[in-house]
């Protein structure tokens, strides 16, 4: 029980670091995301730097540490996506996501980290987004 709780606490720290990173990078601000997508207007390339930093650390860690291990520390196996092919769900879903992302300048991560800062906006967005997530799951099965 104690070990289980400590592991959950560690996962919460992962979330905390994620939220801190989002905040420092400026990604909690919808206008900053919107400005990244506004390539043909006044363009703010910051989001590309967030991606570069994230990919650099994660890729080094993945190829340097994770790939050399048989299993994770807490569980029995690494759960990596098994699908390899490009299907219509992937492309249509991503296209729909991009439209919503462009309109509001928000994606799931920053919405979560904004919950206590801008509660009225973030709670509303989160609730409607959860309905979308649930519906998407139903549609995908077909």
């Amino acid at each position: 029980m104690k070990i289980k709780l400590m592991r959950l606490f560690f996962v919460a720290i992962c979330g905390l670091i994620f939220g801190l990173g989002l905040t420092i990078s400026g990604m909690l601000n919808p206008y900053k995301v919107y400005s990244f997508l506004n390539i043909f207007g006044i363009w703010d390339p910051s989001l590309a730097f967030v991606m570069m930093g994230g990919i650099l650390v994660n890729a080094c860690g993945y190829y340097g540490i994770i790939r050399k291990r048989q299993k994770p520390i807490f569980t029995e196996n690494f759960l990596l996506p098994s699908k390899k092919n490009i299907d219509s769900n992937l492309i249509i879903g991503s296209a729909i996501f991009g439209i919503g992302w462009g309109i509001a300048g928000l994606c799931p991560g920053p919405v979560i980290s904004n919950v206590f800062l801008h509660s009225s906006d973030a709670f509303l967005f989160l609730t409607v987004m959860m309905i979308g997530l649930w519906l998407g799951k139903k549609l995908k099965l077909k």
Binding site: L8, Y31, G54, I96, L124, T127
Partner: protein
């Protein structure tokens, strides 16, 4: 194309990005999971195995408190300027939900994690959502 030098934050954004990548690495190393927020959230709705549920809640709670760590350290105000309101805001929220669900990931899952693992699916997903995002903003800029 004009670069918005007034608001451009290359260093802060890069550093914040490395923390996001580090969080993703820690989650994979400990729990063996991809750090994709839309996936973590949709797993909360599904809830088919009880033990698979609690870690998601803890991760989400951690992410919710992340900004307060910065406020606690620096006492800085965190900039926030909304770009949509009313019905349009709700439509966007719905599109983000259904889109990331069908597309099996969002900016964190496909963008940070998938690209790091050199996943072909993530590469096409990121290309697609940036493309439709750019077109959407272009249309919004023209009509406003």
């Amino acid at each position: 194309m004009t670069i918005d030098f007034m608001n451009f934050t290359p260093w802060e954004s890069f550093f914040g990005g490395t923390l996001i990548g580090f969080a993703a690495l820690l989650l994979m190393l400990s729990k063996g999971r991809i750090m994709g927020v839309s996936g973590i959230l949709s797993g909360i709705i599904k809830r088919d195995i009880k033990s698979d549920w609690l870690w998601r809640i803890f991760f989400i709670l951690g992410a919710m408190f992340g900004p307060f760590l910065l406020i606690f350290i620096t006492n800085n105000e965190i900039p926030y300027k909304p770009v949509a309101g009313g019905i349009l805001f709700l439509v966007a929220a719905f599109l983000v939900g259904i889109g990331t669900s069908l597309g099996s990931g969002c900016t964190s899952g496909h963008g940070i994690c998938g690209l790091s693992l050199m996943s072909k699916r993530s590469f096409f997903s990121v290309l697609t959502f940036i493309f439709t995002g750019v077109i959407t903003v272009l249309i919004l800029e023209i009509i406003s």
